[in-house]
Amino acid sequence: MAAKAERSKERVAVAKTYKIYIDGKFPRTESGRYFTLEDPKGNVIANVCRGSRKDFRNATVAARKAQPGWAGASAYLRGQILYRIAEMLEGRREQFIAELKLQGVTQRAAQKEVNASIDRLIYFAGWADKYQQVFSAVNPVASSHFNFSVLEPTGVVSIIAPDDSGLLGLISNVAPTIVGGNTCVVLASESMPLSAVSFAEVLHASDVPAGVVNILTGLRSELTEHFASHMDVNAIVFCDGARKTARTVQELASDNIKHVVARTDIDWNRDSAQHPYLIRDTQEVKTTWHPIGS
């Protein structure tokens, strides 16, 4: 749905249907519901899928199915794929800038956000084969055993992406999650969901295996509880400042002792918002023992 000004021109623009991204496909929500996204002036920008509990369930099934293969991919390959995402995003800079502007972001801020998003992907792509070296350990146990601790992905991660940073906020949480071998189901920013859907198209074109990243749009008030309670989700990354929701998330997470990673009050534009501890947040430490003998 383009602005009125464009209608007077010769070409009739093709409006984009924003769909959700599950298991490498772009279905509409199974619920058939939508919510309307408006620009600051009240013009309708898009009808966005109002993802349902069932969409989330389907996405989680896809994420679980994809997880062992993704974790089993070499660190080098995961790094290359993240780098590939950055390349694809670079090629579509203008589209993303325009889309952010459509959602009310200024030109300058939109440019900055897209640039930072690309750079953030590169940053985490580079960590793929390094964080293990930083965070693992050989432990000098007193007995005749070789003992080492390494990081392993926790599994399937649900992510409530930051609301105020539609693209960068999403990437800043998805990249460290998947670079470590997890798969994820993301709830996009409710107020700025378009970049997330377009980013799914970038993922789709970037050799990311189906199911590794699944992106839903919808209402936080409706979906957060499901993101927190699903028994086949190992961790929830929760970017929302509301105390009350945080409490609910924690309560529901306890059903299966889910890891709760709360990320609030973070300015995702800052360099300090990128560090390998974000990767570590969704990793488990595995310690292995073996005798030394003959």
Partner: protein
């Protein structure tokens, strides 16, 4: 080939005479108070509870019952000590206090071992050779970290959290106290510790050690009691961090209770570990690993290898050897140096175990128990095997926390892994094979925080411990164990 009559005989003949550990040098007071602010103080509740010797059912001592007001006092004392000397102290000096604790435990090792055995029912051999030396080693290890923390987390600044509330179980009372207290102190926190209600005595002895070591008052506070005391710590607003070791059931309640608070938490919960024996394993050592995996500490071990998977081609051989080995396990007086399996920790736990034995039988499993004699008084359970079970049996799915092993067979690698991971738990696992490549694929595939390959139930202060999935959150031990007690900042 194998015929039943080719049977080894372990009964009769040369027997080991009783070899009880002497307890003349052990001093157990008639009554223990709370350790708050460096003093032993009477509980506000005015109430005391009994701690009994599970091997004799006799009362060992009476122990103060801490209520909300007592916990509040302890938290305030810890807060004061945190603000005051402890967080401002030179880190190296903090380390020196912790080193002192390690040394004093070594000096009083026999006393600790005997009391641990008396209060909890564990064999003196294990208390002497495992619990107490490891507890001391844990303090020794973390003492050294106190002034080196900035090297543990590259690119981060570290700060202590404040007051840590720590709730520990009854299976390794002193060792769990060490696992909790040592890293907390090294990282500059102060502590309110609650030992389990059936095994409070070594914690109270630890209080004496802490006092003797000259730690500033209030740095470590020990409050005794049951679940109510624990929940009072969990919900106290002055506590910055909760560390809990115990059942998944209680862990869930704690995680829920902490919802909405800013308290950090680490949870060390239950397990139902798979111990997987391949046909090409060193079979006799694997049998030892099975025994050590499930009968160590009466099976009161969260990481116990309680689900055995044996490759079909060697299953008969392994089970035969296991049964013969079980006949040599001595069940009885925990204070006897030759006892392999001591008393079940409490009457309640014995009832739980017995209910699972009934469930197993009702579900149609075959039960095998060793033929050993049991003492008349006290709480005992013979080492037990269940065969003829599958993944759907409750004795396979649920944590029994006793000397009860459920045995299944498998044919292929993938089948073993798929069954091993088919559980909500993920604390530990064991793999036995002589083939290196298989070991690595196996240890990578088991979804658990600790994987023992060609060994089982090994612990070390330098080695991180903790679970995946419903077995918990966070690690204890090693460099990774520091994380639980620090705030990392940019």
């Amino acid at each position: 080939m194998a015929t039943p009559e080719n049977k080894l005989a372990f009964d009769g003949g040369w027997e080991y005479s009783p070899a009880p550990e002497s307890t003349d040098h052990i001093k157990v007071e008639k009554k223990y108070e709370l350790f708050i602010g460096g003093d032993f103080v009477k509980p506000e509740s005015g109430k005391y509870f009994n701690t009994i010797n599970p091997a004799t059912e006799e009362r060992l001592s009476r122990v103060a019952l801490a209520n909300d007001a007592d916990v509040d006092k302890a938290v305030k004392a810890a807060r004061k000590a945190y603000r005051g000397p402890w967080s401002r102290m030179k880190p190296a000096d903090r380390g020196k206090y912790i080193y002192r604790i390690a040394r004093i435990i070594q000096e009083r090792a026999r006393e600790f071992a005997a009391i641990e055995s008396l209060d909890g029912g564990k064999p003196i051999r294990e208390a002497r050779d495992v619990d107490v030396p490891l507890a001391s080693a844990h303090f020794f290890y973390y003492a050294g970290w106190a002034d080196k923390l900035e090297y543990a987390f590259p690119g981060r600044k570290v700060r202590p959290m404040g007051v840590a509330g720590q709730i520990i179980p009854w299976n390794f009372p002193l060792l769990m106290a060490a696992w909790k207290v040592a890293p907390a102190l090294a990282c500059g926190n102060t502590v309110v510790l609650k030992p389990a209600e059936t095994t409070p005595l070594t914690a109270m002895k630890l209080a004496e050690v802490i006092a003797d070591a000259g730690l500033p008052e209030g740095v470590v506070n020990i409050v005794t009691g049951a679940g109510d005391t624990g929940s009072s710590i969990v919900s106290h607003p002055g506590v910055d961090k909760i560390a809990f070791t115990g059942s998944t059931e209680v862990g869930r309640i704690i995680q829920r209770a902490l919802a909405g608070s800013k308290k950090k938490y680490t949870l060390e919960l239950g397990g139902k570990a798979a111990n997987i024996i391949f046909a090409d394993a060193a079979i006799d050592e694997a049998v030892e690993g099975i025994v050590n995996g499930i009968f160590f500490n009466q099976g009161h071990v969260c990481c116990a290898g309680s689900r055995l998977f044996v490759q079909e081609s060697v299953a008969e051989q392994v089970i035969r050897k296991l049964k013969d080995r079980m006949e040599t396990l001595i069940v009885g007086d925990p204070l006897d140096k030759n006892t392999d399996i001591g008393a079940i920790n409490s009457k309640a736990q014995l009832e739980t175990i017995q209910s699972y034995l009934d469930i197993g039988k009702q579900e149609g499993a075959d039960i095998y128990q060793s033929a050993c004699a049991l003492p008349d008084k006290g709480y005992w359970c013979r080492p037990t095997l269940f065969t003829g079970v599958s993944q759907s049996n409750r004795v396979v799915q649920e944590e029994i926390f006793g000397p009860v092993l459920a045995i299944q067979t498998f044919r292929t690698f993938d089948e073993a892994i798929s069954k091993a991971n088919n559980t909500p738990y993920g604390l530990s696992g064991g793999v036995w094979t002589d083939k290196g490549a298989k070991i690595f694929r196996m240890t990578q595939s088991v979804r658990a925080g600790v994987v023992w390959a060609n060994t089982f139930n090994k612990f070390d202060p330098t080695s991180p411990f903790g679970g995946y999935k419903e077995s918990g959150i966070g690690r204890e031990g090693g460099l990774h164990g520091l994380d639980a007690y620090l705030r990392l900042e940019a």
